[in-house]
């Protein structure tokens, strides 16, 4: 599969179909994958494609304006490109989407560093309940999509962690999140890694008006995490990058999933399904629920 990808990349660069290709190369540790930016056909040899290609490369698209970019994507990454297109952040004609059949990616945090030859791969949480295997659109497809038997265990509920939390009392939930957020060091890694957090000036750094504390305290940490979640409401496509990048292990996906679940139930809306779809919060329906409004 990597070979097919390399050949295609060489072909594209030789024929000047693209200026650069954003893909994955083997990281210095020889195990994980790191993003790479390839603009000559010799470099195309570096490209790889396997279960270690965890990163969502869509975050890099905005760094190369006015260039024809080839990008290697998984099905979930493609959804974030869909949202970027929807919000006019990238131009479709500047993109050449190389969709690769996804074998499911590993959970980096649960990788055993002592046993690199381990047979059992621990898949990322998002992959275990991933339902889509066919990309909605692409320019080049590497290898036919096929379902990995180890993934998508039938009947597995993608909202299970959310439901578990919902079942707790409100005081218990507050205690839980208070302790989770108390670890937050406000490094904003969740924001930097997110392909959809692209504001040139983030509200967290804004001073006039400053909406919440920049310090590490309950008030600031809670406000930041609520703000991040609200700004991704109806846009988050659950690539799980925020949770992966979080150095203190806050379960950010559980927050994203909660909002995803609510908007599915309340507004019958799912993010990243099609480019033509209007963003959730810039449209409305006259029959939207309003049971809490007096």
């Amino acid at each position: 599969m990597s070979e097919e990808l390399k050949n295609k990349a060489k072909e594209l660069l030789t024929n000047k179909k693209v200026d650069l290709i954003i893909g994955y190369q083997r990281a210095a540790d020889g195990v994980l994958a790191a993003p790479c930016f390839i603009d000559s056909q010799d470099d195309a040899e570096k490209l790889i494609w396997d279960s270690y290609c965890v990163y969502n490369l869509a975050s890099y698209l905005k760094d190369f304006p006015a260039k024809r970019k080839g990008i290697v994507v998984k099905v979930c990454d493609l959804k974030s490109i869909t949202v970027l297109l929807q919000e006019n952040q990238v131009k479709r004609e500047e993109l050449l989407i190389i969709a690769a059949s996804c074998p499911g990616v590993i959970d980096e945090k649960r990788l055993n560093p002592l046993d690199q030859q381990a047979q059992e791969i621990v898949f990322a949480g998002k992959c275990k309940t991933c339902k889509t295997i066919t990309p909605a659109y692409y320019d080049i497809l590497i290898n036919e999509p096929q379902k990995n038997d180890k993934l998508s265990e039938i009947g597995q509920d993608e909202y299970e962690p959310v439901r578990k939390l919902e079942a707790k009392s409100i005081e218990e939930r507050f205690k839980f999140w208070e302790s989770e957020f108390s670890r937050c060091i406000r490094c904003y890694a969740c924001r930097q890694i997110c392909p959809l957090c692209y504001c040139p000036k983030c509200v967290a750094e804004q001073i006039t008006p400053g909406y919440f504390s920049k310090g590490v305290n309950l008030e600031g940490n809670l406000s930041w995490n609520i703000t991040r979640a609200m700004h991704l409401a109806g846009r988050c496509i659950d690539c799980g990058e925020c949770e992966r990048a979080c150095p203190v292990g806050i379960p950010l996906r559980d927050i994203n999933k909660k909002i995803e679940k609510e908007i599915k139930e309340l507004f019958k809306y799912e993010a990243g399904l099609s480019v033509e779809q209007k963003p959730l919060l810039s449209c409305f329906d006259k029959s939207d629920p309003e049971d809490f409004i007096k």
Binding site: L165, E166, I170, E171, E172, R173, F174, K175, F176, W177, E178, V203, Y211, F212, S213, N217, L218, E219, G220, L222, S223, I226, T227, A229, M230, A233, G234, I255, K258, I259, E262, I263, L266, F267, L280, L281, S282, F284, D285, K286, D288, P289, E290, F292, I293, K294
Partner: protein
């Protein structure tokens, strides 16, 4: 601000739309209706103007409750501002609940310019609910 519970009075911030709710509250005053003075009113052009960050800023500054009030759906001066607000704050409220923040502290209402009675009743009820919820421990003071 004293920490003594017995002296504690709920502090509520109300974001009222210029065209309906603000006029409604004004009418309540002109009609000499009596209701608790706990709501500090901030006049906004439309309920759609209210940013979730305003609500967060209030709660994290130690305000005990936030109320957003606007025109009834279909009556918005800007045709659709309150529809947008409704969607946005439905999500925010669900998120508050999930994170363990008492949803009583964040409320919304539609009050038209002629509904002075509704406004007075609303504030009475709201103050009672927030009183039960107790002081907001979230924010710095």
């Amino acid at each position: 601000m004293t920490g003594d519970r017995s002296e504690w009075e709920p502090k509520i911030v109300g974001f009222l739309c210029n065209w309906c709710s603000y006029a409604g509250a004004d009418l309540a005053g002109q009609s000499r209706l009596e209701y608790p003075p706990n709501v500090k009113i901030i006049r906004v052009p439309c309920s759609g103007r209210v940013n979730p960050l305003f609500v967060l800023k209030c709660l994290s500054s130690g305000v005990d409750g936030v109320l957003i009030s606007g025109c009834h759906t279909g009556d918005c001066h800007y045709s659709e501002g309150n529809f947008h607000a409704r969607r946005r704050f439905t999500i925010l409220r669900k998120l508050f609940e999930y994170l363990g923040i008492d949803p009583k502290r964040f409320q919304m209402a539609w009050v038209s310019a002629s509904e002075a009675d509704k406004w007075a009743k609303l504030v009475k009820g709201l103050v009672e609910e927030i009183r039960q919820a107790g002081p907001n421990k979230l924010g710095h003071r």
